[in-house]
């Protein structure tokens, strides 16, 4: 089944972040205190490998599974949207110690209370959708 490959990717993602302790509130706390290279190492090595992959794609060296060129869309440039939105996200990331990926991973590992976090995050997304036209972008 073609859709099951996405579940498999998710499983690899979940095991990776769990075993690298990136799902831990303590690791996020440590990162924002600059007391360990661990989280920075994960991000820097992921982005370094990612830059190489994207460059190979842009040069046409890697094609999509269907044989077509892979499209990587540029994001629209604006300043307030990314800085203000990012700041709000960062407040929540440091406070809760999880971002959306680790939230799903920990929820699956048995931390059932995070269903409340998920509901709150959906409510936050909903409120953003409602207020969107009134917020600076």
């Amino acid at each position: 089944m073609k859709m099951s490959r996405f579940i498999l990717v998710g499983i690899i993602f979940g095991i990776t972040l769990y075993k690298a302790e990136a799902v831990s509130w303590y690791r996020i706390f440590e990162m924002f205190h600059f007391q360990s290279f661990h989280m920075y190492g994960i991000i820097f090595s992921a982005v370094s490998a990612g830059v190489i992959i994207v460059q190979l794609i842009k040069k046409g060296r890697i094609k999509a599974s269907d044989g077509n060129p892979i499209q990587i869309n540029n994001k629209d440039l604006s300043i307030p949207r990314y800085l203000i939105g990012g700041f709000i996200f960062g407040l929540g990331w440091a406070l809760a110690g999880v971002c959306p990926g680790p939230m799903f991973i920990l929820l699956g590992s048995g931390v059932t209370v995070l269903i409340v976090f998920l509901s709150a995050a959906m409510f936050g997304t909903f409120l953003y959708g409602v207020l969107r036209d009134r917020l600076p972008h």
């Binding site: 994001k75 629209d76 110690g97 590992s109 409340v116």
Partner: protein, 196 residues
């Protein structure tokens, strides 16, 4: 179980160093690009809102959310992955976060005592009883709200901006990541001393 499977299990069960985890995440991003998709977990919140009928309230939720089912499957897989990692690839008593001694000391200054070498992956305030304390409520409910609101406002979270966006050398993603860190630093340095 055959010996080689036990060996594989033992290798996976060790804590993974950053230089394994980072390239693995890049590989996941690559697989999704290869299949014509874009790595970004928080987009699922929008899909879940739309599927729950939020399109009646805001045009932001009027989109072809059914075409995003693949991303929900990634999130579902991440849940399975978390289950497998915690139950099959973590030895009893080894479910710890190997944070630095300096961090243990900083936590202690805040009044949050943990013993070095024995810091749990999951803090005690991730629990149902703690949800009914002011601290636990703020962490889980307000934290969740800020993550959901901020991720959509910024157009992505750690996976969409810090990994996918920076890999594609997108300036907007760099701005978002700067925002993530400014927000995170403000939280741990200005608000945690009050909250803990």
């Amino acid at each position: 179980m055959p010996q080689f499977l036990i060996d594989i299990r033992d290798i996976i069960s060790q804590p993974w160093p950053w230089w394994i985890a980072g390239p693995m995440i890049a590989f996941i991003m690559f697989l999704l690009l290869f299949w014509g998709k874009e790595f970004g977990i928080s987009a699922n919140f929008r899909v879940m809102c739309a599927a729950d009928g939020a399109d009646d309230y805001a045009s932001f939720f009027k989109f072809d959310w059914a075409s995003q089912g693949w991303n929900l499957l990634v999130a579902l897989g991440a849940m399975f992955g978390g289950y497998v990692a915690a139950h099959y690839f973590t030895d009893p008593g080894e479910n710890v976060a190997g944070i630095s001694a300096a961090t243990v000391a900083t936590l202690s200054e805040l009044g949050h005592e943990v013993s070095e070498g024995n810091v749990p992956i999951v803090p005690e305030f991730y629990s149902w009883p703690s949800l009914f304390t002011i601290q636990g409520f703020i962490i889980i409910v307000i934290g969740g709200f800020l993550v959901g609101f901020g991720a959509r406002y910024a157009g992505g979270c750690t996976s969409g901006h810090a990994i996918s966006g920076l890999s594609a050398l997108q300036l907007p993603s760099l701005l978002a990541v700067v925002g993530f860190f400014l927000g995170g630093l403000a939280m741990v340095h200005l608000i945690f001393p009050i909250l803990f």
